[in-house]
């Protein structure tokens, strides 16, 4: 029997075929802009991941929580409203495109693994990733906390694992950073999981992250999509 716990593990496993290996959660352009000071200031990676948890990732997790809630409450137009709220809070066109591309990858997989998702989302459409995750959460019985935790954990893990490719980082040290961010992740989970009102989705932004993403899109030498 499938359990919500196992679904949550699957969704945060980097081996799940959703193109996660192409994502650095903005770390690559940030490193290019000086984060880490050419490897002399590796603690920047943790600070960057924490800043994301306080800003863009908080918004993303809240959107996923609302998408899950709306799917449960059978408001068919509701997901469009959530998408509008997400778009209004995601000011970089590049980052909206990145999220839709990732959402499409998740939706593609979910349509095969959890076909009930397609009762709520159109197959192969470019739906923002947190909305797809929220809908998967709804049809597989994940709690709001689990959905928020998946978004937060995955974001931190994307940053930390990309740091291994971008900076001279010891992998065991990186895992220690990840463990060190657990409190911040749980704080985010506690903040956003009770949300049931689209208007209450936080609107924290990180203009530099937006700017880096815009620069990255036209960068020639790229390891990561974003």
């Amino acid at each position: 029997m499938s359990t919500a716990e196992l679904v949550a593990l699957m969704l945060t496993d980097g081996r799940l075929p959703t193109g996660g290996h192409t994502q650095s959660a903005g770390l690559e352009p940030a490193v290019r802009a000086g984060l880490g000071a050419d490897g002399k200031q590796l603690a920047d990676v943790t600070t960057y991941a924490r800043d994301r948890l306080h800003t863009v990732t908080r918004v993303e997790a809240a959107v996923a929580v609302l998408a899950r809630y709306i799917t449960h409450s059978h408001q068919s137009e509701g997901l469009r409203l959530v998408e509008g709220a997400w778009a209004a809070r995601t000011s970089s066109q590049v980052l909206r495109g990145v999220s839709r591309r990732q959402g499409r990858a998740y939706l593609r997989l979910a349509g095969r693994v959890w076909p009930e998702v397609l009762e709520h989302l159109q197959a192969d459409s470019e739906v923002p990733r947190p909305i797809v995750i929220g809908v998967i959460g709804a049809v597989t019985g994940l709690s709001a906390e689990q959905v928020a935790r998946i978004i937060a954990y995955d974001d931190v893990q994307s940053v930390v694992s990309a740091s291994l490719k971008l900076l001279p980082v010891d992998p065991a040290e990186a895992a220690t950073w990840l463990a060190g961010l657990h409190d911040d992740i749980e704080e985010l989970v506690a903040d956003v999981s009770p949300l049931t009102d689209i208007e209450k989705i936080p609107a924290n932004g990180a203009p530099l992250i937006d700017q880096f993403a815009q620069n990255h899109a036209t960068e020639r030498m790229r390891l990561f999509h974003a």
Binding site: T18, H21, R108, M221, R222, L223, F224, H225
Partner: protein
């Protein structure tokens, strides 16, 4: 086959063996008779795509680069999602296409395409990599649909016996085709384009079943009724 579905042809092989150059050759020779598209998977995004675009052999919009997060093997094997999306978008935007060539990022001898991404694959070696590489074998060398021994014009300068290298490769391949290629040798180029032409027709008529070269024997392919058949060949 769905009307907008192209023949998806993978090109894999170690770094520097001439995958991009082979694709440029195929485009140059066949762009007038087949509707082509190209997806590249370079480590640093768009180097190969730029090379192909600047070669002027295909409309630059039909050449797209996919990022691999420095994991070229993952991109063609464990998680083909970004590549599949790119292929399908290209097929949709330029429908109908006859062939989409997917170029793997240069990897090692073990990297082969998943049959979920391509219908057939070419594995590229070159004489400069050493005459003994073909004899060493590996899934791509032994079981790709076509093996290329490239840059044969360099053989005299690197002390490689092309005939012997092709013979070794043929023995490792149980009769599957091997082409000794040089872009300066029109006969070998004609052999390559004829293979692509024949394979395209074969795939289009539904006569071809994608075979997974696999990481090693035993290997698997999908049977006519859609079931997965796994077995060990006698070679």
């Amino acid at each position: 086959m769905h009307e907008t579905r192209s023949f998806r042809l993978g090109v894999a092989g170690p770094v520097g063996t001439g995958k991009s150059s082979l694709i440029a050759t195929v485009c140059r020779e066949l762009a007038d008779e087949l509707r082509l598209g190209v997806i590249t998977n370079d480590i640093y995004t768009d180097e190969d795509a730029r090379l192909l675009r600047s070669a002027g052999v295909l409309d630059p919009d039909r050449i797209r680069a996919v990022e691999t997060g420095a994991c070229p093997h993952t991109a063609i094997r464990d998680d083909v999602t970004p590549n599949l999306i790119a292929v399908e978008d290209l097929e949709r935007d330029f429908a109908p296409l006859d062939v989409v060539l997917v170029e793997s990022g240069g990897d090692n001898l073990t990297a082969t395409f998943s049959p979920a991404l391509v219908d057939a694959q070419i594995f590229v070696l070159d004489v400069a990599g050493g005459g003994d590489v073909a004899r060493k074998g590996g899934p791509g060398i032994a079981r790709a649909d076509l093996l290329i021994v490239n840059k044969t014009d360099l053989a005299p300068y690197v002390g490689v016996d092309v005939e012997q290298m092709v013979k070794d490769a043929s023995e490792a391949r149980d009769g599957k085709p091997v082409i000794a290629l040089s872009r300066t040798d029109p006969a070998s180029v004609a052999e390559l384009t004829e293979w692509v032409r024949t394979m395209t027709a074969h795939v289009r008529t539904g006569g071809h079943t994608p075979v997974d070269p696999g990481p090693m024997a035993p290997h698997s392919h999908v049977g006519e009724d859609g079931t997965l058949i796994t077995h060990v060949h006698s070679h």
